[in-house]
Amino acid sequence: MPSTRNKQGRCYIYPTMKDLDLVSSESAQHWKKTLSDRLDPKWREDIDNFETDIVLKKKGKIEDRVFAETRLRMGAYGQRYDNGHRHDGNESRTIPFPTDLNKGPETKWDAPGMERIKLPWGGMSADQLDVMAELAEEYSDSILHITTRQDIQLHYIHIENCPSMFRRLAAVNITTREACGNSVRNVTACPIAGVCREEAFDITGYANAVFKYLLGHPDVQDFGRKFKIALSGCKHNPCGLTNIHDLGLTAVARPRPDGTVARGFEYVVGGGLGAVTYDAKLFSDFVPEEEVLALTQATCRVYARLGEKKKRHRARIKFLVADMGIDKFREAVLEERAKLPNDPRWTDFLATLPKFEEKPLRAAGKGIPKTNDAMFDFWCLTNVYPQKQDGFVTVTITLPMGDITSNQARALSDVARKYVKDTMRTTVEQNIVMRWVSEADLYNVYNDLKAIDLAEPGAASIVDITACPGTDTCKLGVSSSRGLAAELRTRLAVKFVEMDEAVRNLRIKVSGCFNSCGQQHIADIGFYGISRNVAGYIVPHFQMVLGGQFTNNGGSYGLATGGIASKAIPGVVDKLLDMYLHGKQKGEIFRAWVERTGKGVIMQSIADVAAVPAYDKDKSYYTDWGSVREYNVKDKGMGECAGEVVSLTEFGLKAADREIFDAQLKYDAGDIQAAGDKAYKAMLLAAQGLIKMFNIDISDDPERVMAEFRERFYDSKLFFDPIAGPTYANFYFGGHDERNAKLDKEKAGRRLKEAQIFLEACHNCNLRMSMGANKGKEGILAKPDAKA
């Protein structure tokens, strides 16, 4: 096994092929071998790179926080207890994971994690659902969990299984890239786009274009936090929730003088939930369709350049917009937009829009069949939406807590194949819709769904409760959101059929902490997890938020009303509903009733049911829903919603490390020329990474990289080693001059060694600069954001 040691004592050891096999099981090799040729080349490269990163991490070649952000950007998220500790109700115990290795700061390598699978605009085919069902069985726990952003999450996954999962997903055209981390997350959209009776136009193709254009785009790799985009076909429904997003696009069809219609979007920025809610600000009431991608790119560039990077709690774009004011923010974005060189992709996608027009599998029906089945009639009332296309309806499949098992998912795929082709979508209410169901087939669809326990009524109603994972699996969870949601759902379902319509149509949403993944601020009745000290005991509580507006794309936020003990909440909800039902004026919606009644009166009225009994009277209040342990908050850890701030330079250096690792493998395998070529590429990537400190737009052209490296790092002496001076830069210069030369074993071996030393010098240079060792030289260097 080759190894070198530098003068700081840092030892490089590159594994042999045999070592690589140790971290890649036979199953993993099977998927790599059988699927690689079927993958999009870029996606294949991403997955291969991630697999190599896993190997390098195990060899100690990648820092914990850099690997954390790397895996987050592939959707591999941490889970509760991944710091290796779990409180058993009495004391915190160490979980004795077999290795000491970490996959992030304070995150154990062997701890199971969550994988988030991006479904742009919630779209999925029957084949894709089948594959996700298989992955849930083989790598997770046979449960597919649908999130409030139309993703699917699998839990309890070992990080080393991720490359196989990614390959199997990519083979059916699904990527997990940028599903987590400081990146553009899943692009969500109205699940009834294209069939909605009230939309301006079908936004599916636009959502797909935004997703495709920004996926892996260089301008979205340097954010301080995540960036969420949503599209909606209309202003008043809640399907797209554009107002709670970093960037919201709502379809507008504007008539032209010549009688034709111009398509465009109302463009809002800086909305957001979280601990402190922010209202989205109107950037423009009409951005023409041909301008949407360009303006979005400019918005991302401004956010990357001016957004906060150090103070994580102030790093979302909503803070930037609030600090600058919408007018100045708009000015900065438009200025940025004017500087952007034209990209044909901004408008090319317009020609592909017809591809997103879905067609039915079956002929249109002539009305919903009449039956004597009362449950079918009730299900139609809550779960069936008549499409704008006569004779067709959209069916909502209500999923308790957003969960569906692998067997159910496969069976659902079969129902979809039988009746609707590939027209399934996930929803922000954690359900699945099947569009283009012929009215003639509806009763058969209902019975087929009933046979697999997927015909539960109550979609988009008070029993269709949204809940984030909370303390079940989330590191940030304070209280059990799923436990509470399950309890409320069970209790409310008993009286659901008899409920007054005004109550039946209310929404309840629950988050395990203030970060609002459960979207409690836009529910009629929302809760987020907190804890309270009651006579010396810590008691699980939820802050109650009343009167949020789910309609109008999450039009306004509710009012925090007061903390309620978790176990008291079902009683409180019963009382609240009773008060509303008997106290509301004719036609008065819940929000209006809350405002008219007042927080004080409401809290006073529920005080009796909200009281927490003393510990010795009723211990159940001191244990959370879905738990048998006495409550504590000690399992709460550091969340990974924020990701790690990893500079583009660090990512560049990591890519260089990966390349030199591959070069060594090629060399060991006797592929001499490839080894030498890769060794040069590693130097190129490292130099490019350093340049990104000053110019994020540096191109991939070797000549430009060389010129800029020479100017910024060599002529300025910034790169010079305190002892060796310019020596190590000369390795790169030499490699560059001879980069097209044919190499024999000796020359390739030499280049490999020189490249390793150059990479080490680049790491050291980055370290010196991050420690401020080159203070005073900024004048020579600073050309921030110069467009190459």
């Binding site: 099977h30 207890y81 979980i95 069985e137 046979s142 399950a486």
Partner: protein, 189 residues
């Protein structure tokens, strides 16, 4: 073959008495001071045809499981194991039977589970390692039969290959008579 990711499911004598909340409580008591590495218990009683109550471990997951709409105890070995296929089949079968016995004896249950030692399902949880084909059955059968012969005696059981190609490779094992769990375990050594 190189069999990996072996699962076994054992069915109940008294499925109606399995109470998910009790299982949740019992599994939770297993976590502290366990000789195995356990992480948490997950509650999925709100979904059918899948796990109901899941004890998540590092090497093995155990669950009260309703996959296929039949309630039982599922043993899911998640990491590559050493040894021959016969050794791996035997070790995993011993694994589930020991846990079944432990559950039958656990004082935390009001409704004590009672398992049918002669009603088992063998599953290979890897479509890569074992596609659900007749060829896989032919390859697995000799080692499976050797182990089951030890457990139930030569010819003391029937095998049924569950052939749905979308499901994982699975074989239903039905022993003749009513074997006693402790005795089966003893025979396996």
């Amino acid at each position: 073959m190189n069999l990996q990711y072996l699962n076994w499911k054992i069915y109940f004598e008294n499925p109606a008495e399995a109470e998910p909340d009790e299982w949740f409580k019992v599994f939770s008591t297993w976590i502290p001071d366990a000789p195995e590495i356990f992480i948490d218990v997950a509650d999925y009683k709100h979904v059918p045809d899948g796990p109901v109550t899941l004890l998540v471990g590092h090497y093995v997951n155990y669950s009260l499981d309703a996959t296929g709409r039949s309630l039982g105890l599922l043993y899911d070995y998640k990491h590559p194991m050493d040894g021959s296929d016969e050794e791996k089949i035997r070790a995993s079968l011993q694994g589930i039977l020991r846990v079944a016995k432990r559950l039958e004896e656990d004082a935390g249950f009001t409704h004590k589970p009672k398992f049918k030692a002669g009603s088992l399902r063998f599953i290979v949880n890897s479509r890569a390692a074992a596609p659900n084909t007749p060829q896989t059955l032919e390859a697995v059968k000799p080692d499976l039969i050797k182990v089951l012969a030890k457990a139930f005696g030569e010819g003391g059981f029937d095998l049924e290959h569950l052939t749905d190609p979308r499901q994982r490779f699975s074989v239903q094992v039905t022993a003749k008579g009513s074997p006693v769990l402790a005795e089966v375990l003893k025979r396996l050594g």
